[in-house]
């Protein structure tokens, strides 16, 4: 964002016959918001965030409240999404679970993308033994289904240990991207500006963080977005079986597990939370896809995950 004076300055400069190239951020966001996918995805995602974090302020109940006059009641004026067997308000509990799932998803995606960038860039930049060791580690983690390892380690995530859970989740999302980053690093490494930096005596680590990784930012941004949805889905599945977020914390997974038991005769305990989960993940995927097209319009027909 420019301040007013900066903008005036920019105008003065451009009056002098200089035609400024539009900034990359502006070009990309322009393309992003002109696609229907981007518009819908962004709008829905914003709505979901507002709902998750501002929604509880408007409800009459908090997620710990229990209404002992209404067990298993269908949606009504006082309980917008109905109530659970315990008398908890489904609206309040669902939004609380949504907060948790969104936070877990976002953090896990950030950590895993950072990890894949660092591992991939180091492997691709140094090659040789570093590359062999890191690639082998990547292959090893790809062989073991992540769910399996996370499930085995689940006894370690006690109540209130969710940051540990986030880190573990991130540790198993980075492998495929890091392979892509490695390949791209090998080609970026040969470009003139990296060569120039190397001949000027800049240290390799500094080159990686200042020149290589920023040049792969478009890939990493798209990947981080799509990782949010896979993190949310993994978290949901683990928590569903009691292997992820532990009570008293609630998340989409624990709520869906509880709701599915009563869904036949009390549909509101299942469909609201399942619907919100699907809509959230769908919106994240739409945003990711639109971002990919916006960064690289020529790639819009190429491989999509």
């Amino acid at each position: 964002m420019m301040t007013l004076s900066e903008e005036e300055l920019a105008e003065e400069l451009s009056d002098g016959g200089l035609t400024r190239a539009p900034s990359r951020v502006r070009v990309v966001s322009g393309r992003f918001f002109s696609s229907r996918q981007g518009q819908i995805g962004f709008a829905v995602l914003t709505l979901m965030f507002v709902l998750a974090f501002a929604g509880p302020l408007f409800g009459r109940w908090t997620y710990t409240d229990k209404d002992f006059t209404a067990f298993m009641q269908p949606p009504s004026a006082s309980h917008w999404f109905g109530t659970l067997q315990t008398g908890s308000d489904v609206y309040a509990v669902t939004l609380r679970g949504m907060q948790k799932s969104l936070v877990v998803g976002l953090l896990a995606a950030l950590v895993s993308t950072a990890l894949s960038a660092v591992v991939g860039a180091f492997a691709g930049y140094f090659l040789g033994w570093t590359d062999r060791a890191l690639s082998w580690l990547t292959d090893l983690l790809l062989v073991l289904p992540a769910f399996l390892i996370l499930a085995i380690m689940s006894p370690l995530f006690g109540a209130g240990q969710w940051p540990l859970f986030v880190i573990m989740l991130a540790l198993f999302l980075w492998m495929v991207t890091s392979k892509i980053v490695r390949g791209m690093t090998i080609s970026v490494k040969e470009r003139e500006f990296i060569q120039a930096a190397r001949y000027m005596g800049v240290s390799p680590v500094r080159i990686i963080f200042r020149h290589v990784i920023p040049n792969l930012s478009s890939l990493l941004i798209v990947d981080a977005t799509l990782n949010v949805s896979s993190a949310i889905l993994t978290e949901t599945s683990l928590s569903y079986f009691g292997l992820g977020i532990q009570p008293p914390d609630v998340s989409f997974g624990t709520l869906i597990a509880d709701g599915s038991r009563t869904a036949v005769y009390a549909p509101w305990t299942f469909w609201f939370v399942a619907g919100l989960l699907v809509v959230t993940v769908l919106a994240v995927n739409l945003v990711g896809d639109a971002l990919r097209d916006a960064f690289d319009p020529s790639a819009s027909r190429k491989v999509r995950r």
Binding site: D139, L140, L142, V143, L144, P145, A146, F147, L148, I149, A151, I152, M153, S154, P155, L156, V176, S229, L233, T236, S237, Y240, F241, G242, L243, G253, I256, A257, S260, A263, V264, P267, F270, A274, L277, V278, V279, V281, L282, N285, L286, R301, K302, V303, R304, R305
Partner: protein, 327 residues
């Protein structure tokens, strides 16, 4: 080609060994079989608990590496050890392997064939109604996790049984009805009725992924010169598409197959657990809760082996489709 395969095989063998060891060490550290015995009422004397755990090679007072060595030498002789209850893991797993295998193979076949078909059809008429519909549907399906999908299928089936069919046509629990007395065809029908929903739940996600991939690959190939050449030399459109375009477009998809297999196993785990199939996946989740270290390690080993078999199969398939790999 033979050298390439031999190197691949060796690499895979090392990966399996490391992966299985890692899984055993993790399980032995994170799970606590002692609590299964020590927390009983009345409390057994500690010496009895120790003796029992030592007999099962689960005693956490034995150094981890020693336990690992015992386990590993057993596995090398084809013995996965004893479960926390004292039964042999081998017998239990052999029974369950068939169940999981049937589910995974059916899911894989349906998912990949349907996915490739949908993707190819969508690409042939790009931006037609089928393309738009399949794209939208695959986006939605990719946003629904298997745990939610399976539950939705159960709910829909319960509704359909009641309102559409009028009797229990779609069965949602277990792999066959216990105590059913019907002839061979009756048994077969019963098994099929149980099989429909789990197969859908497992293969739908796969179909979505494969159709996206196949569509994009096919689009890249359709405009290529060799397809035009094939038409020019007089092949019909259908023949040019199936013999030349589809075959070339399948190559990257086959490579992708190896990556999806792990996800498929995880999906099978959820599906088994929710539909009450007594397979390996269900046993994995149960054994984590019952602190059954040896069973967890054995299932992890099987998972690693099958993932690697899948990637070996995808190498072979790729070689069959792509002459350049064979050279």
């Amino acid at each position: 080609m033979a050298g390439f395969l031999a190197r691949r095989l060796l690499n895979y063998a090392v990966l399996v060994v490391v992966a299985a060891s890692l899984a055993y060490l993790l399980a032995a550290t994170a799970l606590d079989p002692r609590s299964n015995y020590a927390d009983r009422t009345p409390k057994p004397p500690p010496a009895v608990v120790d003796a029992q755990l030592s007999a099962l090679n689960l005693n956490d007072k034995t150094p981890l590496m020693q336990r690992y060595a015992t386990w590993a030498s057993g596995v090398l002789h084809g013995d996965f050890g004893k479960s926390v209850g004292g039964a042999t893991v081998n017998d239990d797993l052999r029974r369950r392997m068939g169940v999981t295998f049937r589910l995974v193979v059916l899911g894989l076949l349906f998912g990949s064939l349907l996915g490739v078909l949908v993707g190819a059809l969508a690409a042939v008429k790009q931006y037609g109604w089928f393309d738009r519909l399949s794209t939208a549907l695959s986006f939605v399906v990719l946003a629904v996790p298997v745990v939610v999908l399976a539950n939705m299928l159960i709910l829909v089936a319960a509704w359909a049984n009641e309102h559409v069919f009028g009797s229990s046509v779609l069965l949602v629990s277990g792999e066959y009805s216990v105590g059913l007395t019907a002839g061979f065809w009756g048994q077969l029908l019963d098994r099929l009725q149980h099989l429909v929903l789990p197969t859908i739940s497992l293969s739908l996600g796969l179909t979505a992924v494969f159709s996206r991939y196949q569509r994009n690959m096919m689009l890249d190939v359709l405009g290529a010169d060799f397809v035009r050449t094939a038409r020019a030399k007089g092949l019909s459109r259908r023949r040019a598409l199936t013999r030349h375009a589809l075959r070339t477009a399948l190559i990257p998809v086959v490579t992708y197959f190896a990556f999806t297999f792990g996800a498929l196993l995880v999906g099978a785990t959820f599906t088994e657990k929710i539909f009450g199939w007594h397979g390996l996946g269900e046993q994995l989740i149960n054994s984590i809760f019952s602190n059954d270290v040896n069973t967890v390690a054995a299932i992890s080993l099987l998972a690693a082996v099958s993932v690697l078999c899948a990637s070996l199969a995808s190498d072979l398939l790729r070689a069959a489709l792509d002459p350049r790999v064979r050279a």
